[in-house]
């Protein structure tokens, strides 16, 4: 076999060439870092001490595509995606990787000997791009110890300190924000107890100091659910004595004769087990709105009072369906607990409920209440999130396990399979059996192994039976029922048969009562939570949301380990599923922090569009001039294909394995965010940058991010304008604020040339910020 060696060496100076013809082989070149030899069906790659700060060994068969097989960025040799050939210890403190042999195998080494040139502030800004909705000058300047010479240490301790500080900040609860701005007559019951149980700790009362922004139902029924799930495995509804309630006694059609008899379909009032019968539900809808209907709480809904305060009507009205979103934008732009909010946002893309597919897309409380599961447990435990999501009627409607009944042979009906399927596919274990490092477990034929089959789905569908919509009560935003409290149990609808689990063990039998229903459901959730796939499946998701699209096996392994042990660096609760340990590992792993990796071509990700937009809004201090200060971004789900509560289906805005054509596909890698980066949305997003930078939140004549044909929330460029007399200084400032100092020399040069014809002062700032916003350095992370 004759190969054009000269051509090869011209392109790839550091190549080793392994020529294989039959079993004969010869090795050319003399690089010190690795050696090749043939061992049976493999090429043994011996990996020795590296000489540079980043070395990547690549392999090709036939020169069409080079794939990395090993990497060393100062943390020892590791294997890499996409092939993730196993790495092992070899003699003499070396590592080894076996690559399947082929007719034409070529190896080469890419290397770079860079020293970190990023300033402390640039390092802090890059970290804040991963962990918040975008760095601000203040956040960069006040980052822990950012002015100290030894800011960066081997354990990234100042970054961990920031995380610890963040985890201690009082949470911004979306539902609380909503309710605190509600009816001033509303009684704050947050400190009340019933039967000695502090069941009201999550209830939020009106805060008069915040003004009168929302209307609310009056009166309370002394009834509360334990929806914090502080006790293990608790869901459902509890009575005043802390006992689970079985709504079989209180449900519709107890006689099961197809019609409602007197006394059926009752509302449960909780305090005394009493009922208001005959289809009457005690909503206490005594408030009266302008049309005689009770108030539906929404921001700006109470127009009369606002008018009395001298505000015009346009200033206070906001479509009810916007309320939950302006609360989300408030959190993203202004909440102090940025990391908690970013985690919540990530979790909302894992346990998805979207407006499309909900029976009630326009309301607020059920959505914010659901979202607060993620806010509340952002640094808590994954199991609590899984359990609360499962019991939530908001999810119960979306994936249709609410109202699900055991099979009825007479009617020819079967349990609904929807939740049983997705709880495995999306919320816990995924489709394929995984090793702890996220690589596929292979059978003896080298094939991947499915984690479950359709028989498992039909089996588990039986588990999610006997839950139904919680009984109506007062003091909720009411719209066709109570979608806030956990679903109620109706044991007569539950399939109490013993279920076979994925490992062949059995679940049940349990007592045929409400406790049995709970044990069945929590038993299955526990089974899935303890499945070996759970840690790596969630680990990869979390990494993709925060730092990079294609984590190495070592990175996934580290986060899996944190999930399993509940520890980061030996610290933590020690409980499986500990979220703080997971998030620390995601953000503090060397793969997320080491700047040498920015030279690895496969390292990084496309940023989520909504985070890129929020980043600009924060960096340029978008501030609402509206009475109640809301930031009314308009229909971002249509414009940039991503918005809070805007996922088109339970499969989120993008799939974790989406592959765009081009360089990423050539490397057999994936890049989820490219799924919503298309010809329209990509340019809409850039035009949204333009609008935000030049005007702020505005629509119509001004641009595409606002609802109104005027500027509702202007940008504030004063920090930049004072620097504009020196173009170079301005560029360095914007580079830090917008890319964490990553602008390449080539990009800077383009921008500086353009700056000659971009005017001065404010005009220069706007032009330059716009150009930087459309650079690759702003839109990607690496």
């Amino acid at each position: 076999m004759k190969l054009p060696l000269h051509a090869l060496f011209l392109l790839c100076l550091l190549s080793k060439v392994l020529l294989m013809s039959g079993l004969e082989a010869s090795v050319l070149s003399d690089d010190d870092s690795y050696e090749l030899s043939i061992n049976g069906p493999y090429v043994e790659v011996l990996l020795k001490a590296p000489s540079e700060s980043l070395e990547i060994i690549e392999h090709t068969e036939g020169l069409s595509t080079w794939a990395p097989i090993a990497r060393n960025y100062g943390q020892g040799w590791e294997n890499t995606q996409p092939n993730a050939y196993a790495i092992y210890n070899a003699a003499g403190n070396n590592a080894g990787i076996d690559v399947p042999i082929s007719n034409k195998g070529f190896f080469r080494k890419l290397s770079i000997s860079s020293t970190a040139t990023a300033s402390n502030k640039a390092l802090a800004a890059r970290f804040l791009m991963q962990s918040t909705f975008g760095p601000t000058l203040l956040a960069i300047d006040t980052f822990p110890n950012v002015d100290y010479a030894n800011f960066l240490d081997a354990s990234y301790s100042n970054f961990e300190l920031w995380i610890d500080q963040q985890s201690q900040i009082a949470p911004f609860y979306h539902r609380a924000y909503f309710r605190q701005r509600s009816d001033p007559d509303y009684t704050d019951t947050s400190t009340m107890t019933i039967g000695g149980i502090d069941t009201f700790s999550n209830e939020v009362g009106h805060d008069p100091s915040l003004g009168h922004r929302l209307t609310f139902f009056r009166d309370n029924i002394a009834y509360k659910t334990n929806w914090e799930c502080r006790l293990p495995g608790l869901g459902g509804i509890y009575d005043a004595n802390g006992q689970l309630i079985d709504y079989t006694l209180y449900t519709e059609d107890v006689n099961n004769n197809g019609i409602l008899d007197p006394g059926e379909d009752i509302g449960y009032t909780g305090s005394g087990q009493s009922a208001v019968g005959n289809g009457q539900i005690d909503h206490n809808l005594s408030g009266s709105g302008t049309s005689g209907k009770p108030y539906i709480p929404r921001i700006g809904g109470h127009v009369d009072n606002a008018l009395a305060a001298g505000r015009t009507k346009w200033d206070v009205t906001l479509g009810q369906n916007k309320t939950k979103k302006v609360i989300w934008y408030e959190a993203a732009l202004n909440a102090e607990d940025q990391l908690r909010q970013r985690i919540a946002w990530a979790l909302s893309q894992y346990f998805v409920v979207g407006e499309l597919g909900s029976n009630n897309p326009g309301t607020t409380e059920r959505w914010t209440n659901y979202y607060d599961i993620f806010v509340r447990h952002a640094f808590g435990n994954f199991y609590d999130i899984l359990s609360e999501v499962t019991w939530s009627p908001h999810m119960g409607y979306y994936l249709s396990h609410m109202g699900n009944k055991k099979a009825d042979p007479a009617k020819g009906t079967f349990p609904d399979e929807n939740f049983a399927r997705e709880v495995m596919q999306l919320f816990t274990i995924g489709l394929w059996e995984l090793n702890e490092d996220g690589t596929l477990v292979l059978d003896s034929n080298g094939d991947a192994i499915p984690t479950y089959d359709n028989d498992d789905i039909t089996e588990f569908a039986k588990v999610f039976t006997g839950l139904n919509k919680p009984t109506d009560r007062a003091n909720l935003e009411y719209f066709f029922g109570n979608y806030v409290d956990p679903m109620k149990i109706q044991s007569w609808k539950h399939d109490f048969s013993t279920k076979t689990l994925l490992d062949g063990s059995t679940l049940g039998p349990f007592n045929s009562n409400q406790n049995g229903v709970r044990d069945d459901i929590e038993g299955l959730l526990t089974h899935l939570f303890n499945h070996p796939n759970m840690p790596p499946f969630f680990a990869k998701f979390l990494i993709q949301r925060f730092t990079i699209s294609n984590p190495s096996p070592a990175y996934i392994q580290a986060v899996s380990e944190a999930f399993k042990t509940g520890l980061y660096n030996g610290q933590g609760t020690g409980n499986r599923g500990d979220m703080l340990a997971c998030i620390k590992t995601v953000l503090l792993h060397p793969e997320a922090r080491e700047t040498a990796l920015s030279f690895d071509p496969n390292h990084g990700k496309l940023r989520e569009p909504i985070i890129r937009l929020m980043h600009l809004a924060r960096a340029f201090k978008i501030e609402s001039t509206r009475t109640y200060g809301w930031h009314n971004f308009n229909k971002l789900e249509d414009i940039i294909l991503q918005a809070p509560y805007g996922s088109p289906s339970v499969f989120n805005f993008y799939r974790p394995d989406y592959v765009p054509n081009g360089a990423i596909a050539d490397q057999s890698l994936s890049a989820p965010e490219f799924q919503i980066n298309n010809d329209v949305s990509a340019l809409q997003l850039f035009n949204a940058y333009y609008t935000l930078i030049n005007f702020g939140i505005a629509g119509g004549f001004y641009g595409n991010v606002g609802e109104k044909n005027y500027i509702e929330a202007p940008s504030d460029l004063s920090d930049q304008i004072i620097l504009a007399s020196d173009t170079q200084v301005l560029l360095e400032h914007l580079d830090l604020l917008m890319t964490g100092g990553k602008l390449s020399d080539a990009s800077k040069s383009v921008i500086l040339i353009a700056a000659n014809s971009m005017g001065s002062g404010e005009a220069l700032v706007k032009h330059m910020a716009y150009l930087i916003s459309i650079t690759q350095e702003y839109n990607t992370l690496y």
């Binding site: 100076l13 249709s400 399927r421 360089a663 890049a671 010809d679 641009g703 990009s747 040339i753 690759q776």
Partner: protein, 482 residues
């Protein structure tokens, strides 16, 4: 940056770019956009053909779209669906009352002749009666044909990820159901590449695939991606065409080399989006009636829906085919919301009404343009749904019914074998999941062949097609005339 002494920066870049040597394209050239290099010597096609995929995302419960009316078959239908739906007396029932169905007569190939359409599909009945619409029955993703006993014994290969949304959606679009995920690429993308090589659209600056519903697998080939447009109008990059400084800076930023694969992919995508928008706008602005989303919206009035807003763009783009230099176009329109685990009876009726009306508006426009022989519109969906009820909805299943609309269709007939719906039939793999008797491959081969894919290239477009024996690959199901 301090590169190793014996390697220059330029070498590093070139070296890292080794992988792209074979596929490098001229980024700034409009002519190379989204296209494989067409064979220069090939001649253009003389005819004009348009294929439109209407994807019903979520899994249409299509045994309530096309329903047997003949008494014994209807009774089997009624029984397996849990009786006639009634909100008060039988809320778990899924059957439509026989006298509410819109009657149609099947061709002699079916074992029964009386069928009915869902009550909300009167325009489809009209098209069927006019022989412009054909149904294809019991279609599903298969790797090879199989019987119930072969399914049960595991004797034949079955698609990966059976009954899961993302898997079945992708299978319909890749036609490679033995592989999970989109790596085999979409058959529409592969077909565009085949047609490009045969000389279709040789001088067009827009790719053959145009999506009205965002990125999708179907239209993504090895080297092609769909051009995405939107009912809201054509989006151009702000100030790109107006401000020379922005124009130059953007061009320079995008033509820089990016070592990082995410940056490089994004830069290339942005280059394509910016240029295609300019070209597309120019072509549509040149129409005698320029494309105006606001006017289209107000003209549709109450009939402006997600489906109609997208379908109504297609005739506009078709009219710009001259300016766009296109003789072959593939459109993708998606309507979601079909995953009816609950409230199937109410919600499906609403969606059918929307589809029916949108198709009526679209097809009347096509007829007014005299292009009905140039267009094939066909449906796709994840899967059919269980015949049995889960209480007030249905779950994921397999085989389902579809339709093709074209002036070139041998319409007024049902193709493929309409299955026996009774529980325990030779098609029932349990819970009323119907084993498909017509492969998606056969259905798509019919379309590909009409579009101009020669039999010699059929396995490129539809890799498993030889697993299904057809006497004539030019018209495997006999639906479409050339």
């Amino acid at each position: 940056m301090d590169f190793k002494s014996n390697i220059s920066r330029r070498d590093f870049l070139v070296q890292a770019n080794c992988a792209a040597v074979g596929t490098a394209s001229l980024l700034s050239s409009l002519l190379s956009l989204r296209l494989t290099a067409g064979a220069v010597s090939a001649s253009n096609f003389s005819d004009y053909k348009v294929l439109i995929c209407l994807f019903l995302n979520g899994g249409n419960d299509s045994y309530n779209m096309l329903i047997p009316r003949e008494s014994s078959a209807y009774n089997e239908y009624k029984e397996v669906r849990g009786g006639i739906y009634d909100l008060q007396t039988n809320p778990s029932g899924l059957a439509h009352a026989r006298d509410t169905l819109l009657p149609i007569t099947a061709n002699s190939g079916q074992s029964i002749s009386e069928f009915g359409l869902h009550p909300q599909l009167p325009y489809l009945k009209q098209l069927y009666d006019n022989k412009d619409l054909a149904f294809v029955s019991n279609v599903g993703s298969l790797i090879e044909p199989m019987s119930l006993s072969e399914y049960n014994s595991g004797a034949k290969q079955i698609p990966e990820g059976l009954f899961s949304h993302p898997d079945h959606q992708v299978h319909w679009q890749t036609l490679v159901p033995q592989v999970r995920g989109s790596s085999p690429k979409g058959w529409g993308g592969r077909m565009a590449e085949v047609m490009d090589n045969l000389g279709a659209n040789t001088t067009s600056n827009i790719g053959m695939n145009i999506s009205l519903s965002g990125t999708n697998v179907l239209q993504t080939g090895l080297s092609t991606v769909p051009y995405i447009t939107d009912p809201a109008g054509i989006v151009e990059l702000k100030n790109y065409s107006q401000d020379p400084t922005v124009n130059l800076a953007v061009d320079n930023l995008l033509s820089n080399h990016y070592n990082n694969v995410y940056s490089r992919t994004l830069a290339k995508a942005n280059r394509g989006s910016i240029d295609a928008a300019v070209a597309f706008k120019e072509a549509l602005d040149g129409l005698t009636e320029p494309f105006d989303p606001a006017a289209t919206k107000s003209a549709l009035g109450e009939d402006y829906t997600q489906t109609s807003s997208r379908l109504s763009m297609i005739p506009k783009i078709m009219q710009a085919r001259g300016a766009l230099n296109m003789d072959r176009q593939i459109f993708f329109v998606e309507r979601g919301g079909w995953d009816h685990h609950q409230e199937v009876m109410l919600s499906q009726a609403t969606l059918f009404a929307e589809i029916n009306k949108a198709i009526e508006i679209f097809w009347e426009e096509i007829k007014a343009l005299g292009l009905e022989d140039n267009v094939v519109l066909y449906t796709a969906s994840d899967f059919g749904r269980t015949l049995t009820s889960n209480g007030n909805g249905t779950d994921h299943a397999w085989g389902g019914n579809h339709f093709i609309i074209s002036g070139k269709a041998n319409g007024g007939a049902i193709y493929g074998e309409y299955p026996v719906l009774a529980t325990g039939s030779d098609y029932d793999i349990g819970r009323g999941r119907v084993l498909p008797t017509t492969s998606v491959d056969a259905y798509m081969a019919e379309l590909a062949s009409w579009f101009g894919v020669p039999p010699s290239e059929m396995t490129t477009v539809i890799p498993n097609i030889n697993n299904f024996n057809f006497a004539n690959l030019s018209t495997p199901l006999g639906i479409l005339n050339p």
